[in-house]
Symmetry: C2
């Protein structure tokens, strides 16, 4: 069975070396020099380290059939040998976002912000994975993870810039941008 | 802050006395005489007892604006003084269900199975709460909870019967029906 529970451990050692850590919005996180993404069997186990953020892989909650099939055809898994750069961006959205109904959230994400379309433009170069945290009482709602080769670093900045300009991003109230270089 | 993490503890003592326990589909659960619904501050704390099932309250994942407003207008909270009967029905859906896209799942739930409409007919008499378990590595996907007065017991059977006849229910692969009487 594929692992669905992960601890993201900020520490003084780890699989990824932190190249920068920027608080985009809201409270910051303690500085760390390294980060590891550790698969867990159970939620009750917790890694130590300077801090640990927990996230779980869930089913896609907004993606419709047509986009789901397109994504499946083009996206690639994490851990590609040439993906030596990564970005770990924990995000929390506002209560106003969570008080919206499913169709209202989807309208803002897709019709207005074209979230899936934008991400798709950068596939398979920028591999992405979304980890859910809100429902398990964590400080962030989502832990977003991106992996790419150095040659695609500019494309990644373009993708991130496009996402941050969307209407959806008005609902983001905390965001920390942590850039990583593979250290093993 | 409202609690969103709950342990459902099956044991020899507890807040609710088990009046019946029926395995509708899939593997059974060990028999217990009592059940308690215990709010938790963190996921890592776990009650003991004969068994414990964990569930978390999340945002509504299918309900659209119009239905969300209608529900908010008519539904009542749990723990009403005259709600001395309850049903605790843990459910797991099949991989086929979870492999569907958001719009496919919604179509089966609402257009074909009229899940929300059916539940709404029995409001405010039958108070309902959905606890999510799938994403936290639990044996069930959902823990469903219903509370009602003895005078509404027939209405509850009617609601349950209607839900079990829907296309949505074809995707249920494990279901345990536990009926409860308030013991405190």
């Amino acid at each position: 069975m594929t692992n669905t529970i992960f601890d993201f451990v900020g520490d003084t050692v780890g699989d990824w070396k932190v190249s920068s850590m920027t608080t985009i919005k809201g409270n910051s996180l303690a500085s760390v020099s390294h980060l590891s993404k550790v698969p867990k069997k159970e939620l009750v186990q917790t890694e130590t380290g300077i801090w640990t953020l927990k996230g779980i892989i869930s089913n896609l909650r907004y993606t419709e059939k047509e986009d789901k099939d397109k994504l499946a055809a083009v996206q690639q898994d994490l851990d590609r040998a040439n993906s030596t750069l990564a970005a770990f961006i924990p995000i929390r959205k506002s209560e106003a976002w969570w008080n919206l109904a499913q169709d209202e959230r989807r309208k803002i994400m897709e019709n207005k912000s074209r979230h899936t379309q934008t991400g798709m433009k950068y596939l398979p170069a920028i591999a992405r994975k979304l980890f859910h945290s809100r429902d398990i009482g964590e400080p962030f709602d989502f832990l977003t993870w991106f992996e790419y080769a150095p040659a695609d670093a500019d494309a990644f900045e373009e993708l991130l810039d496009a996402l941050r300009k969307t209407e959806e991003w008005n609902y983001v109230e905390r965001e920390i941008d942590i850039r990583l270089v593979k250290s093993i």
